[in-house]
Amino acid sequence: MARLELSNLHAEVAEGDEKILEGVDLEVESGEIHALMGPNGSGKSTTAKVIAGHPAYEVTEGEVLLHLEDEEFGEDIEIDEDQRTWNLLDLEPNERAALGIFLGFQYPAEIEGVTMTNFLRTALNAKIEEREELFEDEDGDEAEEEEDEGFESSPMEGPADEGEVGVAEFQGILQEKMEQLEMDEKFAQRYLNAGFSGGEKKQNEVLQAAILEPSIAVLDEIDSGLDIDRLQDVSNGINALRDEQGTGILQITHYQRILDYVEPDHVHVMLDGQIAKSGGPELAEKLEDKGYDWVREDVYGTA
């Protein structure tokens, strides 16, 4: 089990002093699905980026904590008592990823010349390695001992380089996950998001989450611009993350539509850099009917 805790989070744009987050309080636990809704400019995407460590934002107050229980990362990694709570704001983006944070991008980067397979295997291995470093036992490195076996890659598949997960093993994992998401296997050899359609990019974000098996996934408008078929594929992928891997989901969305497929346990409404209102799934439906002005009125007594 893992729990992400945002408390009194204030943030502004690093260059300039435009305040964007003005005291966000939010908790997301493994296995839960939270929907974070709100009008444009209310701070939803900034919240996501600050959690992941985007360098363009500066946190001026508050905390982002990640609480882990023992065996969050399986039996091989022992999490001592004093390593159960991490202040994410002290960590680099890749260290946060190693601790199980995943950000699904609203606009995923297009990266020419780096294949999906190469990137994802590198990411997976880097994550495993970084995790071992973060939890390294001071008395010695336990993880090291079991490493030597592993898969040998065939000479046909490029250099048998470093990394816990070898090329052949990774191909197996990737193929399985792509089938689950009904993705064409040719994606594996394409360059990362390069020339992908909007829908393909979003599907690819969910695929990457499935492979990296995060404890907490923040998905920033993963549903925008999807046709109904792809919306269903993406929704199935998100549900599988929660059901099979116990991932806690923070789903940022503009639209009620995806919530029909990915049913939230909790719904939060963000206004002016704060969580203005929280509730169950019925809150989303009410928003659909009444709009955000109703929340504003309800909370501040003015529209």
Partner: protein, 406 residues
Amino acid sequence: MSAGTQVHANLTEEQVREISGDLDEPEWLLETRLEALEALDSLDMPDVIKTPGREWTNLYELDFESLVDPLNAAENKDQVGPDEANVLSWADAVQEHEELLKEHFGSIVDPQENYLTALSTALFSTGTVIYVPEGVDAEDVAIRTEQNSRSLFNYTLVVTEESSSVTILERQSTGEEAEEQYYSGVVEVAAGENSYVQYGSLQNLSEEAYNFTVKRGVTDTYATIDWIEGNLGTQLTKTEVSTELRGDSSETQIVGAFYGHNDQHFDLDAKVWHRAEHTTADLITRGVIDDISRSVYEGVQDVGADAWDTSSYQRENTLMLSDESEADASPQLIINNHDTEASHSATVGQIDAEDLFYMTSRGVDPRSARNMLVEGFFVPVLEEIDVDELRDDLEELIGARLRQRD
């Protein structure tokens, strides 16, 4: 500004006669060399890019007097190729193919085009002649030059007869390093009717060395010349890779890759002259600069008045890895025939912070992410290289240089 260097002060006719005599050259070649020597006085350095208030590459600053040591050239050379093609050292070519040399030597790159071509013509003591007879397909011609002396002047001639093809890989490196060295190379390619030439070169000289190279080809009807040029070595490189599309329906591609670091300086020209109908040119160069290195790229697509139905494309991208590196790029399009489809573009940029964040947020450490982005940046260029060995070597050198970074 005129050729103000004093190099000719310590160069003599006797030296040129000795070089030519050692190679057992005929009188006409000696004359060509002596004329080039004599012309030095009146010749300028090759053109370089100028931006307001700045001349990017100052060739006049080079101390040729101390760099050039004409009678002590030393190298380690391999010249190999399949039996069907003639791959000869310059000395052998002088004996066996005098008529061929007489026809082509100096016909594509004018020995007196500028100060440095004239210097090279007067003083070259080594070279390779590749002659591919009609209908012959010659793969895997390899020329390796390892410079062991203060200066080395090299000459290469490629002649392909009708419907032949040849793939050439040339490499320059430094054996015995000295504080300052000078490498000069002139390459002429005469591609016969319907023939194909791929000329790949990988310059990885010592970072103390200076390098001046001109590679130029001329195409006959339906001929193709594809150039690939990788530049990694030297403290200063001035090169030109160019093709004159003289035959109808002929084609050329100029692919370039460079990676400068420390205080390296690259001044690279890619040029194509469309001088016939239905010709096609594709110029693509990508380079990385780091530390305090500098790059200047000039690309010219010149479409002549008679060049009907021309297709001509040019792209250049420079990626800066440090704030102190500097790059300038000038893509030029000169069109004198409007039946032309053409494009040209150049960009200079840094690693995209959003790309980097995307990758690190997935768990990749910043250093690996940056290296993947840089290696990925070169991929569109690497994909154009047919010769596996050249592509692999280039990839490896790029990877090694990246890993050298902290």
